[in-house]
């Protein structure tokens, strides 16, 4: 289990990193926290010719408040998010979800940008970003562009990032008064990828509005479902007919089975995690 040969560069600033990425001749991979990429390279599932290590880029490591947003550098590690007072105050959904992401040792290395760029359908981060209506800021030698999280995750390990681009930062709107969030996942063991999970943000001032419901670990990508959100928006609490409709809509998602849960189990558990997250929000 040794990686195939590769070239290695560790640039010290973002511009240098972007120069290295702007190379269409070979297969370039970006190393962030390495919690997924290193095993994939050692299994030889990934065999990049050039590995560009971003761990020397201090300009991608920040958490700051600006323009009603919390801006997070892509090389910010999970443990830094967990310990950040700004995050605790303004992004409560992160505080709820982060302890469920793998284990402390992994959160010490894993980065928000790495998980976002990987787009693992079972990972929490893509779902959290969609639920938070985050903006992903991509940079290349040719400029910068902002991509809404809801338009970023295109499929299994597939994102809107183009050749030569990397994620520079992620921008999350500061949670407004009355905005509540819910998070629930079912994992066989603490820290495992979930069998099913959901992240929800919602404005709870009567009547409910701006609901965002995003499932993960049930399909080929984190999946926002407006049909379920529509059952929430405009009511004071989710029960009765609306809850029944919500359950029906959840059942219509494009479920993909895995070793721990076939499609029927995913369907069932998606409903359970949704009910539990809603119960937590409105308890």
């Amino acid at each position: 289990m040794k990686a195939a040969d590769f070239d290695y560069q560790r640039p010290s600033n973002l511009e240098a990193a972007l120069d290295l990425l702007d190379d269409e001749s070979g297969d370039v991979q970006v190393l962030a926290g390495g919690q997924s990429l290193m095993p994939m390279m050692n299994f030889r599932l990934a065999q990049p010719e050039l590995l560009v290590d971003l761990n020397g880029l201090e300009d991608l490591q920040f958490i700051r408040e600006a323009d009603g947003h919390i801006q997070i550098g892509s090389m910010t590690r999970y443990c830094e998010l967990e310990n950040s007072p700004l995050i605790q105050q303004h992004v409560p959904l992160f505080s709820k979800a982060l302890p469920h992401i793998a284990h402390v040792a992994i959160r010490n290395r894993g980065t928000i940008g790495g998980s976002t760029a990987l787009a693992d359908p079972a990972a929490e981060m893509p779902a959290l970003l969609i639920a938070l209506d985050a903006i992903i800021v991509a940079r290349s030698r040719h400029g910068e562009r902002s991509i809404k999280a809801a338009e970023f995750f295109l499929g299994l390990y597939e994102t809107a990032l183009e050749m030569g681009e990397l994620i520079a930062s992620i921008s999350i709107p500061i949670s407004e008064a009355g905005c509540e969030c819910g998070f629930y996942e079912l994992a066989r063991r603490h820290g495992d990828y979930a069998m099913a999970g959901v992240a929800i943000t919602v404005q709870t001032t009567n009547p409910i509005s701006e609901a965002r419901v995003v499932f993960f670990a049930v399909s080929d990508r984190a999946t926002r479902t407006e049909a379920v959100e529509n059952q929430l928006n405009g009511v004071s609490t989710l029960a009765g007919e609306e809850m029944k409709n919500a359950m029906e809509e959840i059942g219509k998602l494009d479920f993909h089975g895995d070793l721990n849960a076939d499609i029927a189990t995913k369907q069932h558990l998606a409903k359970v995690v949704f009910k539990r997250a809603i119960a937590e929000i409105f308890s």
Partner: protein, 792 residues
């Protein structure tokens, strides 16, 4: 038995005390010396091309591109090794009818499981060797695979070995009493269930590892081994590499767990030894995690149909089981892959007085990784089947699960006695263990809690198991069948010139604390501080001959050899002291490193002074005194095939009936392993065993696709039990020493793994009972529970 029984109460008696492990600090500081730590001059590295198919003809193998890669030293196929290794066959004569074809380290003409080694690459680094593996071209012609044990014997099943008429490896039946008549009685209630036990494997922290050196000038092969049976490996490698046994040296330094995984003959290890011999250079092979999953032996994989008849008072009238197991394409050498099935036939229902017992075992070949002995061989299956049926029967006749055990367990004064399958029992305490468990767990309070919880729609369950464990095996286990596996063990104890003891023993340390208990026994029996005892294990060149540590035999057999040798050395030292002190040796004793007057306790001479006289100033001794400050003793069990232990365990679980998730709230074990040498180490053994048992019951499973691909060969997908999900595990003991030895110790290493799955399964089914469903398939995953509940 004779012997100085008072040794358990004397000063310097460490037996029965929780002495800290002398090696703990060294290991915690990272100073352990494992096989992969070895860096030898001119050492090369091995990697293997393994079959990607479960069943395939092997056509042309082209290694030209691989060998052309800079840094590659050699590539070997089965043909290349044919002249250097003789084939091995995993059969034992006492397992009558067991058949398995000859096996070679690398697949010959046909690959029979996904992961079977086909080509070996030797290179200057493991990375280069892996690069070269990718360049090897093998012309595979895939064949239809036989993967499901249930269909392996059907007429249309592909036959895995052309020399056999079918995929049958072995069959055995046991028939005691009159089962048919008992089941047909009017007054009995019959419970019938099918139990399924998934394949799992023992995930060792340190993987299988070999560094092999060969010195052609002396024809000596030195094998650095991470494992638990050095002398067996010595015999196996000598035989199949055609070397003199004395010219094969096996060295096992620190071992990071073994659990029975590293006690078998693996093709990649043998090929590494053969290549070292061919090239005359040291070669290192460390199985990576992926290789471990596809080539370390798997275990369990049983389907057992069981039925039990009880009368209105809950007395067992008859028990019948039919076990089917798939063992992969070969029976593993030299212990064979029929032992687990054999154990299940021997042990199912063994705690209970049963007159009518019938059992049938069928062992079949299949195109999956090989299956063999892993911790608690057969026990988890046997205990889960018997106690699963028993608890179901209790509920059916409206009887409490504790009461039905009270009615059927052997009485504590029934010994010696035999089980229905012919197992010989003595010194057991089933009834006492059950009563202690009931009190320990506060059974009545738990039942009350269960009733109250159900009113809140919380589904809790309580499950028990009464069990036996095979420990301290005699030659009847392997030696009788022709395997080069010693049932006796030896210890040499030597006094040095500074007054310290050096113990060299044939049992092995693989993390459980063997070296600690050796020091405890020797220091206590002889009479020195434990800090003055140095222990050597795991080297065929420097230890007496013996079996090693497996089948929960280290403490009971090896410990007794240490006790006898230490006692003998003490007598020898006192004889010398008698001469020096002009005293009667019978009136002397050794306490705290000094020879003392037995009655008054007055110190007469220190062992250091005595050692100096003997070793340096022998001129002070009379010419006819020839001191021997070393003693060696060996010990084997002679009175019984096995020395059984017993225990009673209970699990308290909560099932989330919406998600199928099981939370283990608490676990209790009352264990009778005879004399407890080190309570803390025994508790650790039982706890670790329980955790592995919970793993098998709830998490661990080697998941194969229908065409024989292992789908979860990584630590991300194969779920070992983790600390966060484990309950508190409460342990208590009963000590009924075995009369077969002075030490009185039985084994304790496998009880937890043997008993926990049954207790967990019973507890889950107890929780599910109000919902009128049950599940008898392990692991009991959320999805399987949801399916049992009809929710998905």
């Amino acid at each position: 038995m004779s012997g100085p029984l008072t040794l358990f109460d004397k000063p310097n008696s460490y037996i029965g005390k929780s002495v800290p492990r002398p090696d703990a600090r060294r290991l915690v500081e990272g100073r352990g010396k494992y096989v992969d730590d070895l860096q030898l001059p001119r050492m090369l590295h091995a990697a293997f091309v393994r079959s990607p198919h479960a069943h395939a003809e092997i056509g042309i193998i082209d290694t030209a591109a691989a060998t052309a890669l800079p840094g590659v030293i050699a590539a070997y196929t089965a043909t290349d090794l044919a002249d250097h290794v003789s084939p091995y066959v995993g059969i034992l004569t006492h397992l009558q009818g067991l058949r398995s074809p000859p096996q070679m380290p690398l697949a010959v003409d046909r690959a029979r499981w996904q992961g079977e080694p086909v080509v070996m690459i030797v290179a200057q680094s493991r990375a280069i060797a892996e690069d070269a593996c990718e360049l090897v071209e093998i012309d595979f012609h895939t064949l239809e695979a036989t993967c499901d044990a249930k269909t392996a014997l059907q007429d249309d099943a592909p036959v895995i070995h052309a020399e056999f008429d079918s995929n049958l490896a072995w069959q055995r039946t046991v028939d005691a009493g009159n089962v048919e008549e008992a089941f047909n009685r009017d007054d009995v209630t019959v419970i019938e269930r099918e139990f399924t036990f998934g394949r799992h494997t023992g995930v060792t922290l340190e993987p299988r590892a070999s560094v092999v050196e060969y010195d052609p000038s002396e024809e000596v092969l030195t094998y650095h081994y991470s494992g638990q049976a050095p002398h067996m490996m010595q015999a196996v490698l000598a035989k199949h590499l055609r070397l003199l046994e004395e010219n094969v040296r096996i060295i096992a330094r620190d071992v990071g767990g073994s659990f029975g995984i590293k006690i078998h003959t693996y093709g990649d290890d043998v090929a590494t030894a053969a290549a070292a011999k061919i090239l005359g250079r040291p070669i290192k092979f460390i199985a990576d995690r992926n290789e471990s999953f596809v080539s370390d032996i798997h275990a369990r994989d049983h389907t057992v149909r069981g039925r039990l008849a009880v009368d209105a008072e809950g007395k067992i009238a008859a028990l019948e089981i039919d076990d089917l197991t798939g063992i992969g394409p070969y029976s593993m050498y030299p212990r064979t892959s029929a032992i687990e099935c054999n154990q299940i036939l021997n042990l199912t229902g063994a705690p209970y007085a049963i007159d009518n017992y019938r059992a049938r075992g069928t062992v079949v070949f299949q195109n999956k990784n090989m299956m063999c002995q892993y911790r608690a061989v057969g026990h988890p299956v046997a205990m889960a089947v018997a106690d699963g049926l028993l608890e179901e029967a209790a509920h059916k006749i409206g009887m409490d699960v504790v009461d039905i055990r009270r009615h059927n367990l052997f009485a504590d004064n029934a010994y010696p006695t035999n089980s229905a399958a012919g197992m010989k029992f003595d010194d057991l305490s089933h009834q006492k263990a059950l009563e202690k468990l009931v009190k320990f767990m506060d059974y009545d309070a738990l039942r009350q809690n269960q009733t109250e919880a159900r009113t809140q729609n919380v589904y809790r369950g309580i499950g028990l198991v009464s069990m036996v464990e095979v420990t301290n095996p005699s030659p009847m286990f392997y030696g009788i069948g022709g395997a080069p596996i010693s049932a006796q063990d030896g210890a040499s104890v030597r006094l040095d010139a500074a007054g310290a003891l050096h113990v060299s023993a044939s049992i092995t340390e693989q993390g459980q604390g063997t070296n600690t208990i050796i020091a405890q026994i020797s220091a206590g029996v002889f009479g020195v501080d434990i800090d003055r005892v140095k222990v050597t294990t795991g080297d065929t060149a420097t230890t007496p001959y013996g079996g090693g540590t497996w089948a929960s035999r280290g403490a009971g057999i090896g410990g007794e050899a240490v006790l006898q040798a230490s006692h003998a050395l003490k007598q020898q030292v006192l004889d010398v002291a008698g001469v020096i002190l002009q005293a009667v040796s019978d009136q002397l004793d050794i306490v705290d490193g000094h020879v003392v007057d037995k009655d008054a306790g007055t110190q007469r001479i220190s062992l250091a002074d005595l050692g100096k006289i003997v070793y340096y100033r022998g001129n002070e001794l009379p010419a006819d005194v020839t001191p021997e400050l070393i003693a060696t003793r060996h010990y084997r069990v002679t009175d019984f095939p096995f020395v059984f232990t017993n225990g009673a365990m209970a699990a308290h679980v909560e099932v989330d009936v919406e998600t199928g998730f099981v939370k283990v709230l608490n676990f209790w074990a009352v264990e009778d392993c005879g004399r407890v040498i080190n309570p803390k180490l025994v508790d650790e053994q039982i706890r670790g065993g329980v955790v592995q048992g919970i793993g098998g019951a709830l998490y661990e499973e080697c998941i194969y696709s229908p065409d024989g691909q292992l789908q979860n060969a990584s630590m991300a997908d194969y779920l070992v039990p983790m600390a966060a999900e484990m309950p508190d595990i409460h342990i208590d003991h009963i000590e009924t020493p075995t009369k077969t030895s002075v030490l009185g110790a039985k084994g304790a290493g496998e009880a937890g793994t043997g008993g926990a799955p049954a207790a967990i399964m019973n507890a889950v089914n107890d929780a599910l009972r109000p919902l009128s469903t049950s599940l008898h398939q392990m692991p009991m995953t959320p999805q399987r529970i949801l399916k049992a509940l009809g929710k998905v």
